[in-house]
């Protein structure tokens, strides 16, 4: 059985796997960016009540491997609270929590380290507070956080594979199942790699475009 025969025979399974992977990734990205962004802004504004606790949780999370956190949420936590939650939601929840605190850290640090002199300069040039945020702070902050944010989101996409360990039918688990039937690891896992490239390359392209648009090198030449 060659590569095309495998894809032809198992295309529905592959599509299901891709769709589950994409669903998890999209949910994790959206939740992480919006909730993490808001948490970061609040953390910068209310340093003691929100900033410090958020930083502490982020610190603790950074010391726990994502897979251990996912397993803990899916097995011991559900056992402790006597609930049964589908692996898909456990994966989305675990990765969203990690992503939220990663994004919050990036946003909070960018806000706290924002050079005050640009705000003063804009203020004395007659810009309103709203204009200062939209035309000066936001582009500079995006420039600062964009590289880190994109790396974090690509890591999140790759981390969706951990869902396979708690029986989520995402693309990696589907590929393993197909491989166990046809026993053609080179073809199956090459197909998996190609699928990831197809998903990742457009994101990398958008990332590159955004980076070019917003992160012009501002250091002195």
């Amino acid at each position: 059985m060659n590569l095309f025969e495998i894809i032809g025979k198992y295309h529905e399974e592959f599509l299901i796997g891709i769709s589950v992977t994409l669903k998890i990734a999209l949910l994790v990205w959206v939740i992480g960016i919006f909730v993490g962004g808001a948490l970061g802004i609040l953390g910068a504004k209310y340093r003691k009540s929100i900033g410090i606790p958020s930083r502490a949780i982020s610190f603790i999370l950074s010391g726990i491997p994502a897979l251990v956190f996912l397993f803990w949420l899916h097995y011991p936590a559900q056992n402790l609270f006597h609930v049964v939650i589908d692996g898909f939601y456990s994966t989305v929840f675990a990765l969203s929590v990690i992503n939220t605190f990663l994004v919050a850290d990036l946003v909070r640090n960018a806000l706290l380290n924002f050079p005050e002199q640009y705000k003063i300069s804009a203020e004395v040039s007659g810009f309103s507070p709203r204009e200062i945020v939209w035309r000066i702070q936001l582009p500079l902050i995006i420039r600062q956080i964009l590289p880190g944010l994109l790396i974090a989101e690509i890591v999140m996409l790759h981390s969706t594979l951990f869902g396979s360990f708690i029986s989520v039918d995402e693309i990696f688990r589907i590929s393993c199942r197909i491989n166990s039937e046809v026993y053609r690891p080179v073809e199956v896992f090459s197909t998996l790699a190609v699928f990831f490239l197809i998903i990742s390359l457009p994101i990398a392209g958008i990332a590159g475009w955004l980076k070019k648009k917003y992160s012009r090198n501002l250091s002195k030449v």
């Binding site: 002199q117 640009y118 003063i120 300069s121 804009a122 203020e123 004395v124 040039s125 007659g126 810009f127 035309r135 000066i136 582009p139 500079l140 420039r143 917003y214 012009r216 090198n217 501002l218 250091s219 002195k220 030449v221």
Partner: protein, 255 residues
């Protein structure tokens, strides 16, 4: 007229608190040039930021034409006075020592974006400045692609385009060649004639001698000598005399 009375400025928090300006008073009239000089760390930039209400004094009074601000301001009044402070600040064009050009805008955008919409009169004015300060070859560069002297000219034109009633310039000639310094001197004299009050912070005594109607010498947070530019030739205090002598030793100033 801008007037400050008995201004004290304390900066820092808790154990690092330090009294930077001590009981200073001064007047800046429209249509005059005031030069503020003094050793590094004497509080010159802090005084400029206090006059422009970017730093709120610990105590004292700042008057900008008909607007008067007494300090300390309570938190409650601070909020209410936010708009009044903006009104006072909008009368001033400020060029900071560090210039603070917005890094993701070109030099041209740094000048025109604060104008919102540019009238044909402003367009002519900008063209005039671009010619006067020889900015044609770098006007569309980004600040990081420009030299310090080029950035200084951009920051100056940005302030001038806002039609200020007062112009506060912090070390505006520090990176300029003699020709550009002469251009700025000439231009300061011509805008002075239009009734704009100018405060210039500089260590460049020959510039101060040529430009100043009033000279203030600040040392250790206190204005210890003030007068016409004559005080730069015949200082009354030992401290100003030694300051000028040390500059004379380094750069050689004509008597």
């Amino acid at each position: 007229m801008i007037e400050i009375k008995n201004i004290n400025v304390e900066l820092g928090i808790n154990s690092t608190k330090k009294l930077i300006l001590k009981n200073n008073s001064l007047k800046l009239d429209k249509g005059t040039i005031t030069v503020l000089t003094g050793p590094s760390g004497s509080g010159k930039s802090t005084l400029l930021k206090t006059i422009s209400l970017l730093i709120h004094p610990t105590s004292g009074e700042v008057m900008i034409d008909e607007l008067s601000y007494s300090f300390p301001i309570s938190e409650e009044i601070k909020l209410r006075d936010h708009f009044r402070i903006n009104n006072g600040r909008q009368k001033m064009g400020i060029v900071f020592q560090d210039l603070h050009l917005i890094p993701h805008w070109t030099n041209y955008q740094n000048i025109v974006y604060p104008l919102k919409e540019m009238s044909s009169e402003q367009k002519h004015k900008l063209d005039f400045f671009i010619d006067l300060f020889q900015m044609n070859y770098f006007i569309h560069h980004y600040p990081n692609e420009s030299s310090r002297g080029e950035e200084q000219r951009v920051a100056l034109v940005r302030a001038l385009m806002l039609n200020p009633e007062y112009l506060l310039l912090d070390e505006i000639t520090s990176a300029l060649d003699p020709e550009q310094t002469v251009n700025i001197l000439k231009y300061c004299n011509s805008i002075k004639a239009l009734g704009i009050g100018i405060l210039i912070i500089t260590h460049y005594i020959p510039f101060a001698r040529k430009a100043a109607d009033q000279v203030l010498f600040l040392d250790n947070g206190i204005i210890i000598e003030k007068g016409t530019n004559e005080i730069l030739s015949n200082p009354k205090t030992e401290r100003l005399s030694s300051f000028i002598n040390s500059l004379r030793y380094i750069v050689g100033i004509e008597d």
